[in-house]
Structures are given as C-alpha cells and as structure tokens.
C-alpha cells in the first residue's frame, strides 16, 4: 500500500518538475500579491508591521487556492484519474499522495520564501520564524481542505472561481490562527504555543478526514 503512495507521489513530483512554470507561477503570484499591498495602503513602517501577518496569510490562501485547480485537472483530462479510481487501491491514500506532492511543490516554496516577503513588511526576526513555522503547519491544511473543493469542481466551467467560493470560507480558522500567531509573536509577554497547538490539531484533523472527503468527492465527480 505504501508503495502505491510513493509511486503516486514520485510521479506527481516528476510531472510537476517537468513543467516548472506551474510551480513558479504560484510562487510569483504569492510574491506579487504581497508586494501590491504596500503600494495600495501606503508604506509607513508601523502600518506595514501591523498588516504584514494578515496580508501574507491571505496571499498564501489565494496562492494555494489558485494552485488547487491543477491538483486533479490534468489527470482528469487525460483519463489517469479514472484509472486511479479503478486500481482497487484505497482512493483516499492516492488522494493523500497527490495532495502531499501538490503541497511540496506549491506550499513548501511559500514557506521558504516567507522571510523574503517578511522583509518587505519590516517584520522582526522572531516574527519571521513564527511565520515560517505557522505557514509550514498551516499550508498543508489549506491543500487538504482545498482538495475536497478541487474534487467537487472537477471539469466544471468556471471551476476556479467556483472553487474559491466553496473553499475560502473553510480556510477561515487557519487564517485566524496562522496570522494570529505571527501578530502575537511581536508582543513579548504573549505566548504563541496555543496557536500552534490549534494549527497542529487542524492539520491532524484534516489529514484524517480531508482525504476521505476528497475521495468521496472524486467518486461523485467521475461517476
């Protein structure tokens, strides 16, 4: 069973690495959205420090959501997805492998680029570390929840904009605690630990439930 997991994972990563633009587009979307905010709201240092955590998280939400459209789309178009459904292997496991590959290619780069964008908002070093950690725990949750939406909107006209309507409200808890952790880290007496406990709980919950829901959604969409 694990070998199936690894082979789907390796295949998806290999395919994505052959088309690097897809990965880079998401990353640059993230950077551009974040760079636009100071142009719109003004570049006073204190204002940017206050806005930074929220803006970075909203940008991460949007970037992750835009990338989700491609999670199943290519496999759906060329029929691979149907074959995966017919393999007799647990579909939730295959979904999990695809989501993990997707996160490694679109979520992890956001985590790694975070210090760079944090500089644009004059965030302190501690806040940068907290932001990277929060993104590392939070973005997989986004990919997992988003996979359900991606499976539900598979092959629909206007799928991308519809996906945002379905999924963004469900991203709220991650946004609240992810951005909250970064904001709180600027205050010396405040404790960021509870935020990470909650984000970790979301990750565990999503790891268990989201692949099952996404697998059920795929079955509905491909029936």
């Amino acid at each position: 069973m694990l070998s199936v997991f690894y082979s789907v994972l390796a295949r998806d990563i290999l395919l994505a690495l052959r088309r690097r633009t897809d990965v880079l587009t998401t990353l640059f979307f993230f950077i551009i959205v974040i760079s636009l905010f100071p142009l719109g709201v003004g570049s006073e240092r204190e204002q940017l420090q206050a806005l930074g955590p929220g803006v970075v998280w909203v940008a991460a939400l949007l970037a992750s959501m835009l990338a989700l459209e491609r999670l199943f789309a290519a496999d759906y178009d060329d029929g691979t997805l149907e074959q995966l459904l017919l393999t007799g292997q647990p579909l939730a496991l295959l979904v999990l492998a695809k989501v993990l590959a997707h996160w490694l290619l679109t979520g992890l780069p956001l985590v790694l680029i975070a210090p760079l964008v944090a500089m644009q908002y004059h965030l302190e070093a501690t806040a940068v570390w907290v932001m990277m950690a929060a993104l590392a725990v939070g973005t997989p949750v986004l990919s997992l929840i988003g996979a359900i939406g991606a499976a539900l909107t598979l092959g629909l006209r206007g799928g991308g904009i519809l996906l945002s309507l379905l999924i963004l409200p469900l991203y709220v808890p991650v946004l609240v605690y992810g951005a909250g952790a970064v904001t709180v880290s600027a205050i010396e007496i405040a404790d960021t630990e509870p935020y990470f406990y909650l984000l970790g709980a979301f990750l565990l919950g999503a790891l268990v439930l989201a692949p099952l829901a996404a697998a059920a959604a795929l079955r509905i969409s491909l029936e």
């Binding site: 929840i145 359900i148 539900l152 909107t153 629909l156 006209r157 206007g158 519809l162 309507l165 379905l166 963004l168 409200p169 469900l170 709220v172 808890p173 609240v176 605690y177 909250g180 709180v184 405040a190 404790d191 509870p194 935020y195 406990y197 909650l198 979301f202 439930l209 829901a213 059920a216 959604a217 509905i220 969409s221 029936e223």
Partner: protein, 251 residues
Amino acid sequence: MTINWFKFASPAAFYPIAGRLIPWFGGIAAVLVLIALYWGFFETADRLGGSNPQKEYYRIIFVHVPAAWMSMWLYLVLAGWSAVGLVFNTRLSFMMAKAVAPTGAIFTFLALWTGALWGRPSWGTYWDWDPRLTSELLLFFLYIGYIALHSAIDDMRRADRAAALLAIVGLVMVPVIYLSINCPDPNQCAALHQRSDPGSIHPSILIPMLTMTLGLWSYSFAAVFARLRNIILSRESDNAWVRDVVAKEAV
C-alpha cells in the same frame, strides 16, 4: 402495524401532500408573525431593565434573532437532508436540501441586514467585526457556495451529490469556524461564553421572539414545499403523472 418509512420518499407521493400542506403552513405563519409583530411592537414595554435602558430600535430583535436562529437551523436541515440523500440514495431528500438552501440564505441575509440596521443607532456603525455578525456572514457564504456548486453542475445526479457532500463538509467545519471567530486569541478564551441564557430575557421579549421563530419556521415549511413542488415537476417532467398534474392544473 408496520410503517412504510419510504412511502413519502417518492416525489409522486409527496407532491400532492406538499400542495395540501402549503396553505396550512402559510396560514399559521401569517397568524404567528402578525401576533409576534403586534406583541413586540405595541405590547412590549418601551424601556426594560432600568439600568440598561434600550431605545425603540431594540424592537428589531423580534425579526433579527428569529431570522438568525432560522438561518442556523435551516443549515442543519440542509446538511441533514443531504446526508439522508447520500446514505439512502433517495431523490426527494436531495430535492428537499436544494429547496431549503435559498430560504436559509434569505434568512441569513435578513439577519445580517437587520443586524446592520440595529448596529447603526446603537453601535454607531452598520458593520462591526462582532463574532456573531462574522459567523453569520460566513454562514451566508456557505449557503452561497452550496447554491453555486449545485447550479454549476448540469448533470443533476452529480449536482445533488456533490452539493450534498459540500454541505456536510461545511457542517463539520462550522464549529471550527465558529470557534476561530469567537476566540481569535487562544490565550484568553474566557470570552467565548457569551451570556445568552433564555431565562434572563424578559418574558415580554422572549415570548414574541419565540412566536416569531415559530412563524418563520412555518413560513420556511410553506416556502420550501412550494419550491420543492416546482423542483419535482421540472425534474420528473418525463413521468406520466407529472403530465397529468400539469394538464389538470393548467387551465
């Protein structure tokens, strides 16, 4: 006596019953809403609670709170029928869920709208990021998502099942969303417990409020059944009984 639980799960069997029930529910709704409005606007005292006098504008509570309650309850109904549909594979359950969604969305919108109207004189602003308002706004987004997904899929079977799954996923997420909005700072979550004990509400506010809730509930039945009948007719239009009904009802 054995009860055939699935007897009315057939659209053909339910269609006439829904038609007969609509006037009843509609009538009850009209009576209850009128009683509640009269009581709330004319019988309830102007200023209650000496230390915290509210002004006339508090009377919007008689619409606002029942609408908010109904919006939440109808989401449960929507998710419940979705689950029944997915489990038992009954067409009527999906139709019921689809018929409930617009009414739920309307009540959510009504709660937000009346909340804004109340907020303006008492808070000095139409909108504030108050936890209750924000949760209600997200509930509105969930309803819109359900309706949007359902109408984006042409294949009816897929639309029903996909939207049903979305409703259930939404239901699982609702407590988490609610928690995150009510308690954005986990270091001080004591504020989560909003004091809203029905016993602490003055009876002359509570009773009209509950009457209005029953009235709106009854209205929901009538509106949902009316919408359901249309859905049944359009979906079952290939069947002979629908042609008979249409031939009989069209003059």
